[in-house]
Symmetry: C2
Subunit: 164 residues, 2 copies
DNA sequence: CAGTATCCTGTCCGATACTG
DNA sequence: CAGTATCGGACAGGATACTG
């Protein structure tokens, strides 16, 4: 029966996972951020079976994260480029990368983000543009928004106090 | 043959995905951040089959993101709490949430982070603690770190110019 | 080069029944 | 309450062969 469809769910995390929840999807996006656009570039880099690559690329295109563009008439050739929506995913990827480096790289990072102006590695944190406070500040709380449905309201109505 | 094991890979994104790549894992963490600790709390909230919940919880414990703690002797009762490593994942989750709200919530967010001091919804962005610049600034570039292996170096040695 | 077409396997996941 | 046990289905993913 496989996973239930969560398309109707309003939780933004679940909705995001609908689009990028498959394992390869994020790695394909990672390579796309690195400038790759062509089928065989992805295939070589990822060492992925070609049919799987086709499936994932198609899914990413359908989700609006990438766009398939013809860059040659004869022979017909296509490339896959990030859309605005896909490019916006960069922050999530960098957050994931930073977390991985902090937690699973005892011998130092294998890939890191550096400031090309100074040469210093970046130390990323999420902040609120409005107040300037870090997102992990205790001042912030997740609450149901205007489009919340019953399920969401129930989950966020628990008396349990949120973990730090 | 299922997915190859990527445990030996040094890419921090792949390494992160090893731990939280399964669909339910992140949703369990989401609920844990919301203060849930007990088996049946997760089960009711997620509407997940009990055997799957056991599997995912066990995996999260093995990955060091959660800890199984006995909170009652007779009868023996356990609870699942976030470890430091698990709590550190909060930034990734919030980044995912913010992306989902930006991209897939035309009718407004269903869940949002608000500043309890001001009542204003947060507008999250990743910034570098060192320079204060946003992570999406063009000044930043991903480069191989001290622990990079051949595969990583090759991927990051392409002449292709990174996508914006 | 850029895929499509088959076939196969592992496992994620759901459903249900059961237990101390 | 907090799970374990068992069953079965759907699909992610791999391997390989083939095409314009």
């Amino acid at each position: 029966m496989q996973r239930k469809s969560f398309e109707d769910l309003t939780c933004p995390i679940a909705r995001s996972l609908e689009r990028v929840g498959e394992w390869w999807s994020i790695l394909i996006l990672r390579d796309a951020f690195h400038g790759m656009t062509r089928f065989d570039q992805f295939q070589k880099s990822l060492d992925i079976a070609p049919n799987m690559l086709t499936r994932r690329l198609t899914a990413l295109v359908e989700a609006g994260l990438m766009e398939k563009r013809q860059y040659s008439e004869r022979p017909p050739r296509y490339e896959y480029v990030l859309t605005d929506r896909g490019r916006d995913f960069r922050e999530v990827m960098l957050a994931l990368l930073a977390w991985g480096n902090r937690q699973f790289a005892p011998e130092g990072p294998s890939v890191q983000l550096v400031d090309t102006q100074t040469g210093l590695p970046a130390d990323l944190m999420l902040v609120d543009r409005v107040s300037g406070k870090p997102a992990i500040s205790r001042d912030f709380r997740l609450v149901p928004g205007p489009a919340a449905d019953e399920g969401v309201r129930q989950r966020y109505a628990t008396k349990a106090k949120p973990a730090a």
